[in-house]
C-alpha cells in the first residue's frame, strides 16, 4: 500500500464552465453511450484480427508433446526421461535396441557389428571389442572415432561434470574407482573441510547420541527418538580426509602431514570401535585427537596454500587425473575405429548398457571449446563446462537428427542430419516437440490434430482412466498401453524394532508380512480401482525383464483371506488382536490414494487391523521412506535395463534403494554368487533362487506391473513399435496426414 499523506484542502477546485448551465436528467446520456459502442466495435475488430491472424503450421513430420522442459541435451549429464527421449535422436551410442524384433535385442548402431567378446586372463568374458562403422559421421562431416567415445565416457566419469548417470558406466573396469579418486583429488585441492568434519560433523553425531542415551537412561526420552550413530559411515568421513592428504604428498616436503595422518588413523580406529556402551567415555579422547589433527592440517594448509595453488597446479592435477584415467580405466582405442572395453566383472547385460544414452559419443573439438578450469584456480581444480555447447548451430551430433531450434520451455525442432549413415532408411525428416505442462491441454491439442503423439499423460490420472474406459468400450482405438518392466509395490518396514508410532514392529516377522500381502486383492485393484490395463504382480521382477529369466510367480503371494487370517494367528495376532495401528504412507500427487484406500479397507476387513492413511509431498515422502519412518510405504521401480539385477539389487543389505530396510545374508550371498557366475543359465538360476527367498519373505508386497500410456492414431502414425522397455526409434516413425 502506498505511503502517502493526504492533505485536505477545504474546497476542491471546480472547473469553470462557460455558457449557461442546463441540468440533464436523461437516464441514457447519448455521449458516453456512443463512446461505449465505439469501444465495443474496436474490441470486436481486435478480436477478429486475432482470430484470422496466422494459422498454426505443421512445421514437422512428427509432432508430439512433452510434459516438461529440458534440463540437458548433453548425453553424459542428462537423466530425466524426457531429456533421454530427445537426446536419443541426436546422439547415437555404439549399439541401439532393435524394437521391431521379438526380445528387443541390441543391434549395431555406430558400431559396425555386435562386439566380439573375449575372456580375460582369469577366463571371465569381460573384454568387448567394438569396431566403429566406416560411414559413421558427425553432423559436420567428420568421422566418428573411438577417441570420441573415450572422451565422452571420461566426461561421464569426471565428478566435475556432475553426471547423474555416471554409475551406469561403473561396470567398466576401474571406472568407479576413478570417479571416487577424482572426487577425493578435488576435495584435497583445498582441504578446508578437515576442521568441519573432525570437530563438527563427526563429533556432533557422537555427542548427540551420547546426550540422547543419557536422557534415555534418565527416562526423559525413548530410545527410538535418539538419532542413531552410524559408526561405519562416520569412520568413512575420517578415512576420506586421510585419502585427501595422500594427494598432497608431492608438496609435503617437510613431512608436516605425518603426525596428522597418524592422528587420523587412530581416530578412524576409535570411531569404528564405538558402541553405545563406550560412547560417553570416548568423547574426550576423540576431541583431543581431532583437535590435534585439525591443527596440523590447518597449519600446513596456510603454509603451502600460496605456494602451490595456481592455474598451473590445477592444470597439473588435471593431467594427473587424465593420466590415471588412461592407465586404470578399461577403455582403450586400438586405432581410430577400434575400441576395446574391459569390464570389472562379467555383465551379461552390458550390450544394453552400451545402448544407453550415457554411452553415446560427443564431438571432442566442439565440446572442448566450452570446457575449462574453474575461474578461481586458487580454490578449485575442477573442470567446468558451459552448457551452451548444446545450443542450435553449435552442437555437433552423430544421430539421425540435428538440433534445429530449441526454445526453452516452448519447443524443440529436430531436422535430419545430412551426414547420418542410415539416412536412407529414415521415415521422416523432422520432429517437433512442444512443451505442454498440463495433460488436459495435451489432450485438447491432440483432439484438435495439433499433436500426432501424446506419450506423457501419467497413467495414474483420471484423464488416462477415462480414455482407457472409452477404449475398452470400443469408442476409440488410439489408446496404447504396453506393459513395462516396472513394478508397483508396498514396502513393509523390515528394519526398526519399533514402528514410528512407538509400538513394537510386527513386520519383523515374515509371517505377518505374508499375511498382509495375502489380504490384498490385486486383481480388483487393477481392474476396478486403477482401470488402465495394468497387470497384477505376483513376482517382484516383471515378465520380460531379462532374456532367460523366468520370474518365480509360482512363489508369489496370491489373494487368500482365509490363509492370511491363519498365518496372522500363527504369528501371534489371532483375529488381528494385538496388532498395532498400521499407517499406509504414500506421496500425495501421483494418483496413489485409490489403491491405498482399497488396501486399507481390505486389511480392516480381512485382518481386522486398524489402518490409517498418510500422504506427503514427494521430497518429504522420499526422505522419510528412505529412513524407514513408516509402517507400510508405497514404492515403484522401473528397470534401467532388461536384466533381473536391476530389480533384485534393491534387496541387498547395502543397496541405497533398499527402502524396506530388508537384510538377509542369504539373498546377499546368492546375489554375490550370481555376479561371479560366468554361465548365463546358472547365473539366472541363482538370481531366481534369490527372488524366491524374497517372495517367500515378502519384505515388499508386489501389487502390479506398470503400463506406459500413449495416445496416437494407429491409422495415422505407423511403425511406433511400443515395447516394455519404452525404447523408441523415432527416425523410423512415419506419420500419414
Amino acid at each position: 500500500m502506498p505511503v502517502a499523506r493526504v492533505v485536505w484542502t477545504p474546497h476542491p477546485p471546480i472547473a469553470k464552465r462557460p455558457g449557461p448551465g442546463r441540468v440533464k436528467c436523461l437516464p441514457m446520456t447519448r455521449g458516453p453511450f456512443k463512446w461505449l459502442m465505439l469501444l465495443l466495435v474496436f474490441d470486436v475488430v481486435v478480436i477478429a484480427w486475432l482470430v484470422v491472424s496466422g494459422g498454426e503450421t505443421d512445421d514437422a513430420d512428427l509432432v508430439f508433446a512433452s510434459s516438461s522442459g529440458h534440463n540437458f541435451l548433453d548425453p553424459q549429464r542428462l537423466s530425466a526421461s524426457n531429456d533421454i527421449r530427445l537426446a536419443e535422436n541426436l546422439f547415437e551410442p555404439l549399439l541401439r535396441i532393435k524394437i521391431d524384433a521379438p526380445g528387443l535385442p541390441p543391434e549395431p548402431a555406430t558400431a559396425a557389428a555386435l562386439p566380439e567378446v573375449t575372456n580375460d586372463a582369469e577366463g571371465r568374458p569381460v573384454i568387448y571389442a567394438f569396431t566403429i562403422r566406416d560411414d559413421a559421421k558427425w553432423s559436420n562431416g567428420e568421422d566418428v572415432t573411438s577417441h570420441d567415445f573415450i572422451y565422452a565416457w571420461r566426461r561421464a566419469l569426471m565428478p566435475d561434470f556432475d553426471s547423474e548417470y555416471s554409475y551406469i558406466l561403473w561396470k567398466i573396469k576401474g571406472a568407479e574407482e576413478f570417479y571416487k579418486w577424482r572426487q577425493e583429488q578435488l576435495s584435497a585441492y583445498l582441504p578446508t573441510g578437515a576442521r568441519d568434519v573432525l570437530l563438527t560433523t563427526v563429533y556432533d553425531a557422537m555427542k548427540n547420541r551420547a546426550d540422547g542415551l543419557s536422557k534415555v537412561a534418565a527416562g526423559d526420552l525413548k530410545l527410538n527418538d535418539v538419532p542413531p550413530l552410524d559408526a561405519a559411515s562416520e569412520a568413512k568421513k575420517i578415512a576420506g580426509l586421510q585419502s585427501q592428504l595422500v594427494h598432497h604428498k608431492p608438496y609435503d616436503t617437510k613431512k608436516q602431514l605425518a603426525p596428522a595422518q597418524a592422528a587420523l588413523e587412530q581416530l578412524e580406529e576409535l570411531v569404528k570401535s564405538l558402541t553405545d556402551a563406550n560412547l560417553a567415555d570416548n568423547l574426550e579422547r576423540y576431541e583431543t585427537l581431532a583437535t590435534k589433527a585439525a591443527e596440523v592440517i590447518d597449519t600446513y594448509d596456510a603454509e603451502v596454500f600460496a605456494s602451490h595453488r595456481t592455474p598451473e597446479t590445477a592444470r597439473k592435477w588435471l593431467n594427473i587425473a587424465f593420466d590415471r584415467f588412461n592407465k586404470t580405466v578399461g577403455v582403450q582405442a586400438i586405432d581410430d575405429k577400434k575400441l576395446r572395453v574391459t569390464l570389472a566383472s562379467p555383465t551379461p547385460y552390458f550390450l544394453y548398457l552400451a545402448a544407453f544414452i550415457t554411452y553415446a559419443p560427443v564431438h571432442e573439438a566442439s565440446v572442448e571449446k566450452f570446457v575449462g578450469l574453474a575461474p578461481d584456480a586458487t580454490k578449485s581444480a575442477r573442470l567446468i563446462q558451459d552448457a551452451r555447447w548444446t545450443s542450435p548451430g553449435t552442437i555437433v551430433t552423430n544421430g539421425p537428427y540435428i538440433l534445429n531450434r530449441r526454445r526453452f520451455k516452448r519447443d524443440v525442432l529436430l531436422t535430419q542430419n545430412p551426414h547420418y549413415w542410415n539416412k536412407a532408411n529414415m521415415r521422416n525428416t523432422s520432429i517437433l516437440e512442444i512443451i505442454v505442462g498440463d495433460p488436459q491441454t495435451q489432450l485438447a491439442m491432440y483432439n484438435k490434430g495439433r499433436l500426432d503423439w501424446v506419450p506423457d499423460i501419467p497413467s495414474s490420472t483420471s484423464i488416462a482412466r477415462d480414455l482407457a474406459g472409452e477404449m475398452a468400450k470400443g469408442k476409440r482405438n488410439d489408446v496404447h498401453m504396453p506393459t513395462t518392466i516396472g513394478t508397483y509395490y508396498y514396502n513393509f518396514n523390515c528394519k526398526d524394532k519399533e514402528l514410528p508410532s512407538g509400538h513394537p514392529n510386527p513386520f519383523l516377522d515374515p509371517r505377518v508380512r505374508r499375511a498382509f500381502s495375502m489380504a490384498i486383492d490385486r486383481k480388483t485393484i487393477v481392474e476396478k480401482v486403477n482401470g488402465v490395463g495394468q497387470v497384477p504382480a505376483y513376482s517382484f521382477t516383471p515378465p520380460g525383464a531379462g532374456k532367460g529369466y523366468d520370474p518365480p510367480v509360482e512363489h508369489g503371494v496370491r489373494f487368500d483371506p482365509e490363509g492370511a487370517r491363519k498365518l496372522l494367528a500363527e504369528a501371534g495376532f489371532p483375529d488381528g488382536k494385538g496388532l498395532p495401528p498400521i499407517e499406509i504412507f504414500f506421496n500425495s500427487a501421483g494418483g496413489h490414494e485409490g489403491a491405498a484406500q482399497f488396501i486399507q479397507v481390505q486389511w480392516q476387513q480381512v485382518l481386522n487391523a486398524e489402518v490409517t492413511l498418510r500422504s506427503q509431498e514427494w521430497p518429504v515422502f522420499q526422505e522419510e521412506r528412505k529412513r524407514q519412518k513408516y509402517d507400510v510405504a508405497r514404492g515403484g521401480w522401473i528397470g534401467d535395463y532388461p536384466d533381473p539385477v536391476t530389480f533384485l539389487d534393491l534387496f541387498l543389505s547395502g543397496s541405497n534403494h533398499n527402502d524396506a530396510g530388508y537384510n538377509n545374508p542369504e539373498v546377499d550371498r546368492l546375489f554375490a554368487e550370481a555376479s561371479k557366475e560366468v554361465d548365463p543359465a546358472k547365473r539366472m538360476a541363482k538370481l531366481r533362487e534369490a527372488e524366491i527367498v524374497v517372495l517367500k519373505e515378502q519384505p515388499v508386497a508386489p501389487i502390479l506391473y506398470y503400463v506406459w500410456f500413449h495416445l496416437y492414431d494407429p491409422g495415422k502414425v505407423k511403425n511406433m513399435n511400443l515395447n516394455n522397455l519404452n525404447s523408441r526409434r523415432l527416425e523410423f516413425v512415419e506419420v500419414v496426414r
Binding site: R5, L50, S79, L186, A387, F408, P619
Partner: protein
C-alpha cells in the same frame, strides 16, 4: 518528489536483503534434497556428495559467501533443476513472456473494468448496472483454473476460434490474457462503480451539477479522477503479480513464462531459482509501488508525497 524517489531507491537494497535472508532461511529449511531425482534410480551417494559440494549446498556460510560474490557480478547462480540454464537465463526468457501476457491482461482488465464500472455509475440501478455487478461477482468468485478451462472449452473447443495453447503469435495471447484479466477486471469494475457512486453523491459534484454540468461531464471531468485512486493502489501489486506470471494460466495454456517456476522451484527445492525469483519479484513489487505512489500525486494533487 525527487528526494522521495531517491530515498525509496536507497531503501531497496535493504528491503531486498531482509527478504533475501528470510527466503534463504525458508529455502534451506525445506525438506528434501534438490539433487535427488523425482522417480527411479537415485545417483549413488558419492555422486550426490560431489554435486552438493560443487553447488556449495553442503555448507550454508559457504553458499552465502559464494552467492554474494556472484550476485555482485550480476549472476543469480545456476538452477538446480534446469542445470544447463542459469537462473539469469531462466528469468531472461520467462520474464518477457510473462510480462507481455500480464500487460495484455492488465490492459483487458482496465478496459473491461473501467467500461463496466463507469456504465454502472452512469445508469445506476439499470439492467446494465445489475448485469455488470453480477458478472463481476461471478468473476471474482470463480477460481482462475475454472475460468480458464471454461474459456478454453468454449473458444478453442466448441467454437474453434483460438489455439489451445502455445506461444509466439498474437492469437496465442488472447485467451490466457482474458483468463488472467477476469479477476482484476471484476475488482476494478466494483471499485470504480462503488467509488463513483460515492463521489457522485458528494457536495462538490452536486455543485458542479447545479452549475449546469451534465451528469456524464461531471463524472468524467471531476469524479473519475478521485474514484480511480483505489484502483491505482490496487494496480501496483496487481501489476507486479501479473507481470511475473501465473502458475495456473501458464500451465493450462502451455505458456513458457515465469509463473510455473515460482511453484516448481519450491517443490524441487531449487534454492538458487527460489532466491533468484524472489529477488526479482521483490524488486519489481517495490518499484511498482513507488510508481503508484508517484502516480497518486499526479492524479490527486491534494496528496503530498514526503
Amino acid at each position: 518528489m525527487a528526494s522521495l524517489i531517491i530515498r525509496r531507491l536507497l531503501q531497496l537494497p535493504l528491503i531486498l536483503f531482509v527478504i533475501f535472508m528470510i527466503t534463504f532461511l525458508l529455502a534451506w529449511s525445506l525438506p528434501g534434497d534438490p539433487l535427488s531425482r523425482s522417480e527411479g534410480k537415485q545417483p549413488p551417494i558419492e555422486v550426490r556428495m560431489a554435486m552438493a559440494k560443487q553447488y556449495n549446498l553442503d555448507s550454508q556460510p559457504r553458499f552465502l559467501k559464494s552467492y554474494a560474490t556472484e550476485l555482485m557480478k550480476g549472476s543469480l547462480g545456476p538452477s538446480l533443476t534446469y542445470r544447463d540454464q542459469s537462473v539469469n537465463d531462466i528469468i531472461a526468457t520467462g520474464l518477457p513472456t510473462s510480462a507481455l501476457l500480464g500487460a495484455a491482461a492488465l490492459f483487458i482488465a482496465l478496459h473491461i473494468g473501467l467500461a463496466a464500472g463507469i456504465a454502472g455509475a452512469l445508469w445506476p440501478r439499470s439492467p446494465l448496472d445489475f448485469a455488470t455487478l453480477s458478472v463481476a461477482l461471478v468473476g471474482v468468485s470463480l477460481p482462475i483454473f475454472v475460468t480458464g478451462a471454461i474459456l478454453l472449452a468454449l473458444f478453442a473447443g466448441i467454437v474453434n476460434l483460438f489455439p489451445v495453447g502455445g506461444w509466439g503469435e498474437p492469437r496465442h495471447i488472447f485467451l490466457p490474457a482474458l483468463t488472467l484479466s477476469v479477476i482484476p477486471a471484476a475488482y476494478i469494475a466494483r471499485l470504480i462503480r462503488l467509488g463513483l457512486a460515492d463521489v457522485m453523491s458528494s457536495d462538490y459534484i452536486r455543485t458542479a451539477l447545479a452549475k449546469g454540468l451534465s451528469r456524464s461531464e461531471a463524472l468524467f471531468r471531476h469524479a473519475l479522477k478521485v474514484a480511480f485512486l483505489p484502483v491505482l493502489s490496487f494496480l501496483g501489486p496487481a501489476a507486479a503479480a501479473a507481470l511475473t506470471g501465473s502458475f495456473v494460466v501458464e500451465k493450462l495454456f502451455a505458456i513458457p513464462g515465469l509463473g510455473d517456476h515460482f511453484v516448481n522451484a519450491v517443490l524441487n527445492k531449487d534454492q538458487f531459482l527460489i532466491l533468484g525469483l524472489v529477488l526479482t519479484y521483490a524488486t519489481i513489487l517495490v518499484l511498482f509501488n513507488l510508481v503508484v505512489d508517484v502516480a497518486y500525486a499526479y492524479v490527486d494533487p491534494r496528496i503530498e508525497l514526503t
